[in-house]
Amino acid sequence: MMKTFSIGGIHPCDSKISKDCRIEVLPVPSKVFISVAQHLGAPATPVVKVGDQVKVGQVIAEPAGFISAYVHSSVSGTVKSIGPRKDLAGNNMTHIEIDVEGDEWVEGADLTDTLVTAIPEDNKEILDRIKMCGVVGLGGATFPAHVKLCPPPGKKADCLILNGAECEPYLTSDYRIMLERSKEIVVGAAIMKQVLGGCPAVIGIEENKPEAIKAMTAAVSELQATAKGYDGISVMTLRKKYPQGGEKQLIDAVMGRQVKSMGLPIDVGAVVQNVATSLAVYEAVQKNIPLVTNVMTITGDCLPMEKQHNYKFRIGMPLSYIAEYAGGVPEEAVKIISGGPMMGKAIANLDATTVKGSSSLLYLTAEQTVRGVESACIRCGKCAEACPMGLEPFLLNKYARNNMMDELEENAVQDCIECGCCLYSCPANIPLLDIIRLAKGDVIRIIRGRGQK
């Protein structure tokens, strides 16, 4: 019996159209705009000046707090300007504009394809390198990776979970790297496992990716046979269900443990990292390459097969450039999403640039995006059945519309993971998530404000 998380969940059509498209490397454009806010937490502070010469992999912005990350240049060239530019959502954010000249990397970066399997012994040095290379979680939240790998004193990791679920429909970037960079991912897992004190590592992959399961299993057994430090890594097949890739859901599926309300995964001894993060950790520690590239999917039902792509992009590339290179925006597309269709964000501004966590350009047609007319709640309970956090969205919706903050908190609105299962399952087309997300923000602010008193 394959494992999955215990409550809620939905089964959207997985639509992995681009799964057989090999990862192609995007050519570097003539200009990039690198955002200083590519991670959860405080935006980084620029450390270069206009006119400075930079190389690929050079630090251009430093963390501005504990939860923050280094940002590196993804190209070599001259810093043209530092100033506000509209991001994906159309809001202003400081971007560093760099005119590209050549492609010169910083010293020490190992650009060869050779697999380095020997893991450095000094954990402090490993963590330092992960931090210095600006590695953040690439599963969506872009939480700085080194912070997650240093459990607070008194807490111990029992298991490292690698998230290869990729439960969002359409996205295939994680799938492709699991096929094409399997060994690197396993080395990354072994590095993180060692940092966490040698706990076992489980790579969780959904059943709809048999090829990836095969490739990863083969990579694990090959490395276990040929190198040291790879014991205790295993691949686990999970039953397909959305949102399996949610941190708390994956812990439930793999370990059978539930994270308390407002708790952290480490409270139950779990550390979850995405497979793409594992690859970034490998490149940072073994190859000394900072996180300046990632893989994104260009897909959509309205795109012909030859225009479906998985691209290795560099951070700071304008999305319009990528869309153009991939063959242009299809005419039928009325909405472009960055991320999956369930949790991704609609792109308001195609001039925005890629960030570390960019995972897709997904073209949706009018038919796919138009919301139905909202009607009254008939208390069918489908939303409550679908909620993977065990909440009652119909109730939270009522409370939120009436600003009943105490009741919202009692009913754990702060635990909502914004997965969208309620909205997806509601037959009355009530914008449950829109309303609950807002209430969640308000309640979390109230809780935090209380803590400060």
Binding site: P84, K86, L88, A89, G90, N91, N92, V334, K345, A346, A348, N349, T369, V370, R371, P431, D434, I435, R437, L438, G441
Partner: protein, 300 residues
């Protein structure tokens, strides 16, 4: 039959008397000493419970007034206005200085015509929800989102959405300057400003802090921070900060020099008497040249 009724009445009467006596002594024992003036002040307040005074409703405001008496400088009920405050002062037997009457002002020029839509918003129609998702369906990430959260927040029916422009319009007669709309607007588009002499006001109807070219591209009538108005102002009432001009209503003398100077028409002058365009003789600058005021002159 009759006896049952008599008995019932008798028992209930006795019970009532006994309980009344008990309640009387309990009430005496646990009496809460409260200033009787609070009740009196509350009686003269409008009873809107809007929170515009900064207190949790009219009762709390009455208590606040009594506590801060004799100095009522910090107490002001925007709904009752100066008249209402005079009544409060009379109840408390103190003096209170009159405050400038104020009104809510919408600082956005982004009508459908000035500010072209760059995308379509299909989500829940609420400014707060929209603001949490993205910058809005125009190129301007500062201006009005047009879903009408302010309309819903106004208890006095003073704000309505103009379907032609997609912007909220404040009815000056009804607006009490309670500030509920200011709090409801996630973009801080609405500001409470002094009503001004004979309701005449000059203000920058834009809050876009983008650089000139970016702001201009997003909206034809955006403030581009050129600073011409600040130079033209003889009273140093205008400051330009972060590519945005702001007119200090306490310093503005309504000379309208800035209105004539503004290249994009971002500065609005409202309720000035309409001067009929007489040929030649009219003194420059003519108010008729000024951009069309968003609020129409009062009809009398």
């Amino acid at each position: 039959m009759t006896t049952t009724i008599i008995w019932t009445i008798a028992i209930l009467t006795i019970l009532g008397v006994v309980l009344a006596v008990v309640l009387y002594f309990v009430a005496e024992k646990f009496k809460v000493e409260e200033d009787p003036r609070i009740d009196e002040v509350e009686k003269v307040l409008p009873g809107a419970n809007c929170g515009g005074c900064g207190q949790a409703g009219c009762r709390a405001f009455a208590q606040f007034c009594v506590e801060s008496s004799p100095n009522l400088d910090k107490c002001f009920c925007p709904v009752g206005g100066n008249e209402g405050m005079q009544k409060v002062a009379a109840v408390l037997g103190v003096e209170v200085a009159a405050k400038e009457p104020q009104v809510a002002v919408v600082r956005c020029n982004g009508s459908c015509e000035n500010r072209p839509r760059t995308n379509e918003y299909g989500g829940y129609q609420s400014c707060r929800v929209k603001a949490a998702l993205y910058s809005g369906d125009t190129g301007c990430s500062f201006g009005c989102l047009g879903c009408g959260d302010c309309v819903a927040a106004c208890q006095f029916g003073a704000i309505s959405m103009d379907p032609a422009t997609g912007l909220p319009v404040v009815d000056e007669e009804k607006c009490t300057a309670c500030g509920a709309c200011v709090k409801a607007c996630p973009k801080n588009v609405i500001e409470i400003r002094n009503k001004g002499r004979r309701n005449m006001r000059v203000f920058v109807s834009c809050i876009n802090k983008d650089k000139g070219a970016v702001a201009r591209k997003a909206c034809k009538a955006a403030c581009i921070g050129c600073g011409k108005c600040a130079k033209a102002c003889p009273f140093e009432a205008i400051t330009v900060e972060n590519n945005l001009a702001y007119i200090d209503f306490t310093k503005c003398k309504l000379c309208k020099k800035c209105v004539a100077e503004c290249p994009t028409g971002a500065i609005h002058a409202v309720n000035f008497p309409v001067v009929k365009p007489k040929p030649e003789a009219a003194p420059a600058p003519k108010p008729a040249e000024a951009p069309v005021a968003e609020t129409k002159p009062k009809e009398e």
